[in-house]
């Protein structure tokens, strides 16, 4: 908007002060650029700076000190939590790769039946918030009462025998993996989609069979991308709060995020938390660096992509159905089984009593909808914040992508860098930075909707930017130049040409940010106030009491509304919106 108004203004020749004259000399685009820098500093740079500074300062005197680091790492228990996180991240990421890579390969390269079904499985697993899946798995695999273990006891005829205990390290890792594998699937499928059949044909001609070709040619080509996906899952896992909080306490496993939460126990030691978070930040920075190196090697895949012909590999009947079976198995574990457990619990008086008529009740829903004031508020908050954040993030991302891709300004890459920076900050760490920077005076945003929206916007800005930038790449400047030759301003060009052309990419990005925001917990839990509770926070509060029946009902409400949005979005832009950013 400001572009046109400012563009018209400099014609008035009445410059009074030196400053005003200088502003007149500035290109309008410069002002936009400065404004964007300002927004990004506010959203990204300042909270990080506050975080680092507060980790180095004495909470009361404000003197520079390393005592916070001593407090943060002075106990074996705290160091153990860090090691637990690293091990958990590695195990989860490996499980994810095992789950996702065969699925991605089958969906992208083969004639496996039910490829659409596999794709919907991934989408569903992505929409279900991880902590909700965790609750589903508590219902399924509680050591004594879980359905799986009850069934196992029945089958083996020995009471109390346990097939799979969710309250263990491997249980925790599996539950996390079941809601993170979509990341690896998306990475792997996007890369596999670009490998053309000529490479495989060449291998075949030289005598290699399908499996040799796949293992020696196709997968090595996309290996860097898969590894990048594994790194992403690793980072997501070590930054995850909800699942470790719900499963970790009964399982006696303390991780970094639950330890950070302990530093926020009264008396609040935000500065110790900041110090404790620093290694997390460094590990993330390092791994993102490695990831970028890996992804930059990817170029040899895309160079040969697109041009060639792509034919699905014909699998024999056995392998077609074996792969389909694998996808169905993943679907069962990640979507169907936990959802059935949650739905049963949401209609149950006591979930442990299982399926029976006298156990059925609507009380959990009536409690939430009619007797629980905060529940409706939380539903409204969740979708209002998510929609607002997604909108702000996409507008900002588009503006920045435009400035960067059209080279409107020098150092445009600095903007892009700031935009992507939140990607390397775990949500929980960012929340601590936001708390340090904006909770108290002068802005005093603690407990306001603004703080939640700002945090969500910042947290998912990189995803919005990746979508916006990828979209901008597709539009050749000559179309805008045509508008400008015909006398339209840059803004007209953006409004009439760029935005309509990018409609799908923008909507896809919007939807992605929206879904992620509806399930956000790790930042929200630190920034929430009594008026700004979201469904995720309320679910967390309910989980404290083990109030799993009401919790399941609330989770159900969250999923139904999210699905409505996703359904509407997919009608508009097709079902592959998650893939567009690559």
């Amino acid at each position: 908007m400001s572009t046109t108004t400012i563009a018209a203004a400099p014609r008035a020749p009445t410059a009074r002060s030196g400053l005003l004259r200088r502003i007149q000399v500035l290109e309008p685009a410069t002002l936009v650029w400065l404004a964007l820098i300002g927004v990004l500093v506010f959203l990204v740079a300042w909270p990080i700076a506050e975080l680092v500074a507060s980790s180095l300062r004495h909470p009361r005197t404000g003197d520079w000190t390393l005592s916070n680091y001593a407090a943060a790492y002075g106990r074996a228990r705290y160091v153990d939590a860090l090691l637990n996180s690293l091990a958990l991240g590695a195990l989860s990421a490996l499980i994810c790769a095992v789950l996702a890579v065969p699925m991605a390969w089958a969906c992208s390269r083969t004639d496996m039946p039910g490829r659409g079904f596999a794709w919907f499985t991934v989408l569903a697993a992505f929409i279900i918030p991880p902590y909700l899946g965790a609750v589903g798995w508590i219902l399924l695999a509680g050591p004594n009462s879980g359905w799986i273990n009850q069934g196992w006891s029945f089958v083996t005829g020995t009471p109390d025998s346990t097939l799979f205990n969710v309250y263990t390290f491997s249980g925790l890792a599996l539950v996390i993996a079941l809601h993170s594998y979509p990341f690896i699937f998306i990475f792997a499928k996007s890369a596999l989609d670009l490998v053309n059949s000529e490479m495989e044909d060449a291998a075949n001609i030289l005598g290699a069979g399908t499996w040799t070709t796949t293992l020696k040619v196709t997968l090595p080509l996309v290996w860097p991308t898969i590894l990048a996906g594994i790194i992403l899952v690793f980072l997501e896992t070590i930054a995850l709060f909800g699942t470790p909080a719900i499963i970790g306490i009964p399982a006696r496993i303390n991780v970094v995020t639950t330890q950070l939460w302990q530093f926020f126990e009264a008396p609040v030691r935000a500065e110790v938390a900041a110090a404790y978070a620093m290694p997390l930040l460094l590990i993330t920075l390092m791994l993102i660096g490695i990831q970028r190196l890996l992804l930059s090697r990817k170029s040899y895949v895309s160079q040969t992509g697109k041009g060639g012909e792509r034919r699905p590999i014909r699998l024999g009947p056995f392998w077609r159905w074996a792969l389909f079976g694998w996808c169905a198995f993943v679907c069962l574990l990640s979507v169907v089984a936990p959802m059935i457990a949650l739905v049963q619990a949401s209609f149950a008086k006591a979930w442990g009593r299982g399926f029976s008529f006298d156990n059925l009740t609507l009380q959990n829903y009536t409690f939430l909808l009619f007797e629980h004031d905060a529940a409706w508020g939380a539903v409204v908050n969740t979708f209002a914040y998510s929609a607002t954040s997604a909108t702000i993030a996409m507008v900002l991302a588009l503006a920045i992508a435009y400035v960067v891709k059209r080279n409107l300004m020098p150092f445009g890459m600095a903007l892009a860098f700031l935009c992507m920076a939140p990607f390397v900050i775990p949500g929980i760490v960012m929340a601590i930075g936001f708390y340090a920077a904006y909770a108290g005076p002068p802005l005093t945003l603690y407990g306001t909707a603004a703080l939640m929206v700002l945090a969500f916007t910042t947290r998912f800005l990189p995803i919005a930017y990746a979508n916006g930038a990828a979209g901008m790449q597709m539009i050749h400047p000559e179309m805008e130049e045509a508008v400008r030759i015909l006398g339209g301003g840059r803004l007209t060009a953006i409004r009439r040409v760029v935005a309509p052309l990018l409609k799908k990419a923008l909507l896809g990005g919007w939807l992605l940010v929206f879904i992620l925001a509806t399930r956000e917990l790790s930042a929200a839990i630190f920034l929430v106030g009594p008026e700004t509770r979201t469904i995720s926070v309320l679910l967390y509060d309910l989980s404290e009491e083990g109030n799993l029946e009401s919790l399941s009902a609330l989770g159900g409400i969250l999923l139904v509304i999210t699905l409505l949005f996703v359904g509407a979005g997919m009608r508009l832009i097709g079902h592959d919106f998650m893939l567009r950013r690559h």
Binding site: Y446, D541, G546
Partner: protein, 357 residues
């Protein structure tokens, strides 16, 4: 408030109560506002004219009871709104501390189950002094918990042994706290967490006082399931995940009354009596609504709702729940205020060393 005015008030309130009793059932159902005393009327009018609503950080009840109290307050005082934030005591205090650090006033009325919070907040000058009119109706032994009158007992409760009746016949149920250490309950015990729950914090302090920390080292040999809230034990028993627990009287009985296979055992070595207090935060933007809400918590209507939910109550003029045992016939144990204040932070650390979380 000196004793003369408060006894004068008692007279007025006695009349008010009589009037309320004269309206059978109607007032109790909350369909018509109960008769208000002059004092309550003044608070109500002031709160309404200033458009006040009350935000209540509470850990006193389970969520259902807390929400029901919030709704009943709105029904008794039309136009008022109660924003109920139910968490465990330590999480409530954590959020309050975060608020204070950010210098934001979110909470108007604070109801924790850890005395330590009150002594600390009082020493820091965080409370608004208020002497509720309804204090006159509170059982005398529960009055004057704070000699300076900054906080008042608004709820009581018990920590006792609860168990799943389909798994454990009554005669086999643990009779004493030390019975939970019996190896026959290995992988069968469920408890809450003192870093979350105030009830559990009190219980741990009390057990340490009775049996030393060794009690928990031995309990760990039975690998108890550790939740967060003390109410979590009820969920674990209901599901059959665990068989016996150190749990809350009210939530267990409430759940049993809804058909779940649960029962309680008052331990021979003592049922822990919880005295839980409430205070108004200084600088509240809703001072009248906050006072009105504290009055409501001590009101007859509030006690009736608590009784419906199987809670022990602070007034003697409301009949207790059916089957409720008169606590004067039970061995009660209770740590002192100093023991709780000093003990809870200590046992939180010890707990993490012993149980790993």
């Amino acid at each position: 408030m000196d004793s003369i005015t408060s006894s004068g008030r008692r007279g007025i309130l006695g009349l008010g109560t009589a009037l309320a009793l004269g309206l059978p059932a109607l007032g109790a159902r909350g369909q018509a506002p109960p008769a208000m005393t002059d004092h309550l009327r003044r608070l109500y009018d002031a709160a309404r004219s200033r458009n006040e609503q009350v935000t209540w950080y509470t850990s006193h009840y389970n969520s259902e009871t807390a929400e029901q109290l919030g709704r009943a307050f709105e029904a008794d005082f039309p136009g008022m709104k109660a924003n109920v934030v139910r968490t465990t005591a330590q999480v409530a205090f954590q959020r309050l501390s975060q608020d204070m650090r950010a210098r934001v006033q979110n909470c108007d009325v604070f109801s924790s189950t850890d005395f330590g919070h009150y002594t600390q907040l009082k020493a820091d000058g965080r409370f608004e002094k208020y002497s509720p009119e309804n204090l006159a109706h509170v059982i005398p032994a529960l009055r004057g918990i704070d000699p300076d009158g900054f906080y008042h007992t608004t709820s009581t409760g018990t920590v006792l042994i609860n168990y799943n009746t389909t798994r454990v016949p009554p005669e086999e149920a643990p009779k004493r706290w030390t019975d939970l250490l019996d190896p026959k309950w290995a992988n069968r015990v469920t408890v809450g967490h003192p870093s979350f729950s105030g009830y559990v914090g009190n219980w741990v302090v009390m057990m340490r006082k009775l049996y030393g920390w060794d009690y928990f080292k031995r309990l760990e040999r039975n690998k108890p399931q550790i939740g967060r809230s003390i109410n979590d034990t009820v969920t674990m028993l209901n599901s059959g995940e665990r068989w016996v627990g150190a749990g809350p009287g009210a939530t267990t009985l409430r759940s049993a009354s809804r058909g779940n296979p649960l029962a309680i055992q008052y331990p021979e070595d003592g049922t822990l009596l919880m005295i839980a207090t409430t205070a108004i935060m200084k600088g509240s933007r809703n001072p009248n609504a906050a006072k009105l809400f504290v009055e409501f918590l001590l009101s007859k209507r509030s006690c009736e709702i608590q009784v419906e939910n199987y809670s022990e109550i602070v007034r003697s003029d409301v009949p207790t729940f059916p089957g409720g045992r008169d606590l004067s016939t039970v061995t009660l144990i209770q740590p002192t205020v100093e023991e709780i204040e000093k003990g809870i932070p200590e046992v939180k650390e010890l707990w993490r060393d012993t149980f790993g979380v």
